[in-house]
């Protein structure tokens, strides 16, 4: 959308400042760019739904103690396996009489923690490997990319299983295992972007000014790879959640009595045919949150990279 149209339409004020074609400062230029991306994103209703789900997840995780109506660890054997809709237990209770709703609400923080930590570490590692590989070229490139290919050729879940086996079961091991198995695609993306950038005039100009390789990669190449990597990260977040839940389900992620959603499904398996809600409710939570990240990722991709929309 042409920024000038908007300007004419809305007159002055904040809108004009946000949509100007002649920004007065660096801050304004960045804000204008972000605002235009937001406008493109906001035209996609499904993307907004995804954003809503993700924001809801964050709010639930932050205010879990206020939203939960029970202690997630409090056992009440007299009220075990109560069906959904029982007084005080919206989603019912599990085999130890713990309130499933409260456990799901508290589990939001664990999910957010896993996704957050993996989404910070894996792309960073990929970005470093990819930009160095692409910028240096030659043997560095060949060695690093072979290394990346080796990791790409592995089945992710099996490799994560083996990693967790080598460490010890727990959330930290799960996070580490997922991060160790999910950086290679980011390295590939960052390398591809770097190859298109590295011979451009402005990089050569920076080089002529005497900038070191480190400075060029960190300050001038990496920032340009960031948007492709960010899109990929949002699209991968659902996958991270599913892998983490899978590890929890196998008993290799969060350990009892932690209210991790995958582990909750695993516990509910034993009662599946008679008390369906114990396994079903946490699964619905995983499904909705993953759906949210997928919708958000699709929306962001369409807004930031219209070429691949479709």
């Amino acid at each position: 959308m042409a920024a000038s149209d908007l300007q004419a339409e809305n007159g002055g004020g904040l809108r004009a400042w946000l949509t100007t074609e002649t920004p007065a400062s660096r801050l304004q230029a960045r804000t204008v760019q972000a605002y235009l991306v937001w406008l493109a994103f906001a035209r996609n209703p499904l993307g907004l739904v995804g954003l809503g789900i993700v924001l809801a997840l964050i709010l639930v995780a932050l205010f879990a103690p206020l939203l939960a109506n029970h202690d997630p660890f409090a056992q009440d054997l007299a009220a075990r396996l109560q069906p959904p809709g029982s007084p005080g237990h919206w989603f019912g209770t599990d085999e130890l009489g713990r309130d499933i709703y409260s456990r799901i609400v508290h589990g939001a923080w664990i999910t957010l923690k896993i996704v957050g930590l993996v989404a910070l570490t894996a792309p960073l590692a990929g970005l470093i490997v990819g930009t160095v590989s692409g910028y240096f070229g030659g043997w560095v490139d060949i060695v690093l990319m072979r290394f990346t290919d080796v990791f790409l050729a592995f089945p992710r879940l099996i490799l994560a299983l083996a990693f967790v086996a080598a460490l010890e079961p727990g959330i930290e091991s799960a996070i580490l295992a997922i991060a160790l198995t999910s950086w290679p695609p980011y390295a590939r993306i960052a390398r591809a972007e770097t190859l298109t950038i590295r011979n451009s005039d402005y990089i050569n100009a920076v080089r002529l000014l005497g900038a070191s390789r480190l400075r060029i990669i960190v300050g001038h190449v990496a920032p340009l790879c960031l948007s492709s990597v960010v899109i990929r990260v949002t699209l991968d977040m659902a996958g991270i959640i599913l892998t983490a839940a899978g590890l929890g389900f196998l008993g290799l992620g969060a350990q009892p009595p932690t209210p991790e959603w995958g582990a909750m499904i695993s516990a509910g398996r034993k009662f599946l045919l008679d008390q369906w809600w114990v396994a079903t409710m946490p699964g619905l939570a995983i499904f909705i949150v993953s759906l949210g990240f997928n919708l958000l990722g699709d929306g962001l991709r369409d807004a930031l990279d219209p070429r691949s929309a479709g």
Partner: protein, 355 residues
């Protein structure tokens, strides 16, 4: 550094191009596979080295004298340098020696060959389901772009990328086994039918047909249909999405217009001309989805108590049986690498331009 060095093409690039006409692409492929396999072995070796389980204690027990411990330590070759241990390890693996499983006390290779057919059977039936529904689904989505078949494929894909496979499996059991009783429950066969047909391939659907025992075949089919459909759904979601985008690309090309102008029926244009060109990239997609099903089967096998490689690896893992875990990892990794290689080779054979 000067401008000129920055603009020079990469050193590796010029050498590759001079050799590109000969056997280089094939050699390169073989080299890639070898390096990847080597990396697989290196990673599993390192994992085995950092495990906090003492392999010596597992053999001699906690009350062994220091001399016994030392003897076992040296017998395992643990006193030798790390790189030497690695080469011994590679040599053993290449001969198919993954050590013995602590859990079953049998060689890991023997265990793996016993359980692998079950996983193969599950992944194959799932892929058949995914391909037979996914390709027509994707074609319809592309032909009716923006209408309901397109939305349906999109929603199916979105759900597939958002649902945990083990949860979908449990829900399937709840509805189709628990509530409706349409399919058989967990396991490969009812206990009554176990070991009725002689084991030839290890794939029960094939073995029962070879033995001419339709009763066993039907029982096996009613057991496999649910786990295979659950896995097949993920394959369907992926294949239909890729088919759709490949078809959209083809349908906008001029040869499609030419075919229509020539007066060919719409069905022939779509299913013969456009889909024919799409089949080449689709082979890669199908091979990749087959490989990912082998992996997805780990969780599915646990839900359905399916005695395959995934269940084997997980059970070994929970009882700290590292030989079995790493042996299983190497086998799955090798199949993964093999399928990637196969899709690459098929691509070259099917597409004349890639030759």
């Amino acid at each position: 550094m000067t401008l000129a060095t920055g603009l020079k093409p990469g050193r590796g690039g010029s050498r590759i191009s001079s050799l590109s006409r000969g056997l280089w692409p094939l050699l390169r492929l073989v080299l890639t596979v070898a390096v990847t396999f080597f990396g697989l072995l290196l990673v599993t070796f390192l994992i085995a080295r950092v495990v906090p389980i003492d392999p010596v204690l597992a053999i001699v027990g906690e009350r062994a004298s220091p001399e016994t411990y030392q003897a076992a330590y040296e017998a395992l070759g643990l006193d030798r340098p790390l790189w030497e241990q690695f080469f011994v390890y590679v040599g053993k693996v290449l001969q198919g020696d993954f050590g013995d499983s602590l859990l079953t006390a049998r060689p890991v290779l023997e265990d793996v060959t016993r359980v692998f057919p079950a996983t193969l059977e599950l992944a194959t039936v799932a892929t058949i389901i995914g391909v037979t529904l996914g390709i027509p689904g994707g074609v319809c989505a592309a032909v009716y772009q923006g209408r309901w078949p397109d939305h349906l494929v999109r929603v199916l894909g979105l759900f597939g990328y958002s649902m945990p496979v083990f949860w979908l499996g449990l829900m399937g059991l709840l509805v189709f086994y628990g509530l409706l009783d349409w399919v058989a429950g967990p396991g490969r066969l009812d206990i009554f039918y176990e070991d009725v047909v002689p084991r030839v391939t290890g794939v029960i659907l094939v073995d029962s047909l070879l033995a001419g025992d339709l009763e066993v075949f039907n029982n096996a089919l009613s057991h496999i249909i649910l786990p295979a459909s659950v896995l097949g759904y993920y394959s369907l979601a992926y294949i239909s999405r890729m088919t759709r985008s490949f078809m959209l690309e083809q349908l906008s090309q001029e040869y499609v217009t030419t075919a229509r102008v020539k007066g060919l029926s719409e069905a022939r244009v779509i299913w013969r001309h456009a889909l024919g060109n799409v089949m080449v990239p689709l082979i890669t997609v199908i091979a990749l989805s087959y490989a990912s099903l082998l992996e997805g089967s780990v969780l599915t096998e646990i839900v359905f108590a399916w005695p395959g490689l995934g269940l084997y690896i997980t059970n070994s893992l929970l009882s700290a049986d590292m030989n079995a875990v790493l042996g299983g990892t190497i086998v799955v990794g090798s199949v993964f690498i093999g399928l990637n290689l196969l899709s690459d080779l098929l691509y070259r054979i099917v597409d004349p331009r890639a030759r």
